[in-house]
Amino acid sequence: MLRALGRRTWPPVLAILIALVIWQVTVWSGWKPSYVLPGPAAVFEALGEQLATEKFWIAIATTMSRALVGFGISLALGTAIGLAVSSSRVLRAAVGSLITGLQTMPSIAWFPFAILLFGITEQAITFVVVLGAAPSIANGVISGTDDVPPQLVRTAQVLGARGASLYRHVMVPAALPAYLAGLKQGWAFAWRSLMAGELLVIIAARPSLGVQLQFFREFADTAGLISTMIVILVVGVLVDRVFSVMANRVRANRGLGVVRL
């Protein structure tokens, strides 16, 4: 058990060590002065200091609650749109390619419009986060139901499943792995859009991870800046892990290949 854990732990640990070494060597080479590019030691010291401040936890709470609200709305909206489009030929013809189009649109391009619509407000941020995440989730539903093996559908029809019961008992459960993949991608888009939003839509007296980034840049505090970026990366990866674990559990239950974490 411990050995198995060790076998799975050492590759990422080694990768992080190599990255730290490259970073440290770059600093030592004197390519940039150390106040512009501090070394790992200085950054982790800054991270430690940050974690000890109340402001940091308020910032992370603000950011996470925005992420939760934005992703929650995307989940509801994306799922509903996905189900509607996958079950209606007319809707698919009308908006099917539009959904994919929205997915390729960089979410930062929505911000000027969102700010004109909603002003410098929470709604502006949520609006863009939802536009970033919902299409991926909808596409997960659509590709999931499209890829249900036709022989399973026939079998279900022979068993007497029609219309809504066919959807409920066969199409939806069959589409679950693709749906989870859509959620995972949706989360990645939501998190990216949120960071862009927090840099562009700065609401007074509301500290957030994005505001922290701006703050450290203005004070030319690179160590603080990089430590905040590490926090953003870690949060993004941790949430992604949650979806990966869920997806693997579902896949393992069905005898499908499991993606090693």
Partner: protein
């Protein structure tokens, strides 16, 4: 097994696929009566429309012309792949079939145990489809079809991808359940020996377009075995019937 009542009446059914003007005829004026309790094998090479005929009887497709009358009998169907739902356990798969045919929740658990006993798979209920062998999966599929309380069972090459030993065991089980339940079975196969082993009647089909070329009665006593000399002889005759048709085709 010899009831005179007709369970399946196929009346000059034609079926073509494709767009108007470019249709390909899969079946042309096929007529067939199957008596209640009969086990009828449909034998033919691929492309002769035997699966199409089965899909039409199952109601999965509509005939282009002609009619099919089952007298209101319930139909179950098995395919070459077991097509178990991979997200459900063995119990879950049978439970869904019961549920879709309107069996109330309280009655379902007991019925599932009963059905697993019938296909000789007690104690496997909590397993997942991917944990089962091919033969076990087909037995679950059989239990799932029986869960619908069907009177007619359509089997589309259900044992074609099983090894010979498992297939022989499945023949025995199919025969036993057919006799116990008084089912009417339409069994599609391209295996001549299998049709001689199982069928009361063997319908030989010919391609281009699909039609019935021979209707052979097979009254060998049961139980039969694949290795029986009589079965081999019957298979030989059926083979000749298939061959004869090929010669006709070559001459035409």
């Amino acid at each position: 097994m010899t009831s005179s009542e007709v369970a399946i009446r196929v009346d000059s059914v034609s079926k073509s696929f494709g767009r108007a003007g470019r249709e390909v005829a899969a079946l042309e004026k096929v007529s067939l009566d199957v008596a209640e309790g009969e086990l009828v094998c449909i034998l033919g090479q691929s492309g002769c429309g035997k699966s199409t005929l089965l899909n039409l009887v199952a109601g999965l497709e509509k005939p282009t012309s002609g009619s099919i009358d089952l007298g209101g009998r319930r139909v179950g169907m098995m395919f070459q792949d077991a097509n178990l739902f991979p997200w459900l356990t063995v119990r879950g798969n049978i439970d869904l079939a019961l549920r879709l045919s309107g069996v109330p929740r309280e009655a379902r658990a007991e019925r599932i145990d009963e059905l697993l006993d019938i296909v000789r798979l007690p104690g496997t209920g909590s397993r997942r489809p991917h944990e089962l062998s091919g033969g076990m999966r087909q037995r679950v599929a059989l239990a799932r079809s029986l869960a619908q309380d069907c009177q007619i069972l359509l089997m589309d090459e259900p044992f074609a991808s099983l090894d010979a030993i498992t297939r022989d065991a499945m023949h025995d089980q199919t025969e036993r359940i057919w006799a116990e339940r008084g089912l009417t079975i339409l069994f599609v196969t391209h295996n001549v020996r299998e049709s001689a082993r199982l069928g009361d009647r063997v319908i030989v089909m010919a391609p281009g377009p699909g039609r019935i070329s021979h209707d052979v009665r097979n009254s060998l006593p049961r139980p039969r075995r694949m290795e029986d000399v009589a079965v081999a002889t019957a298979a030989g005759a059926l083979h000749d019937a298939l061959q004869l048709r090929d010669d006709e085709a070559a001459r035409a």
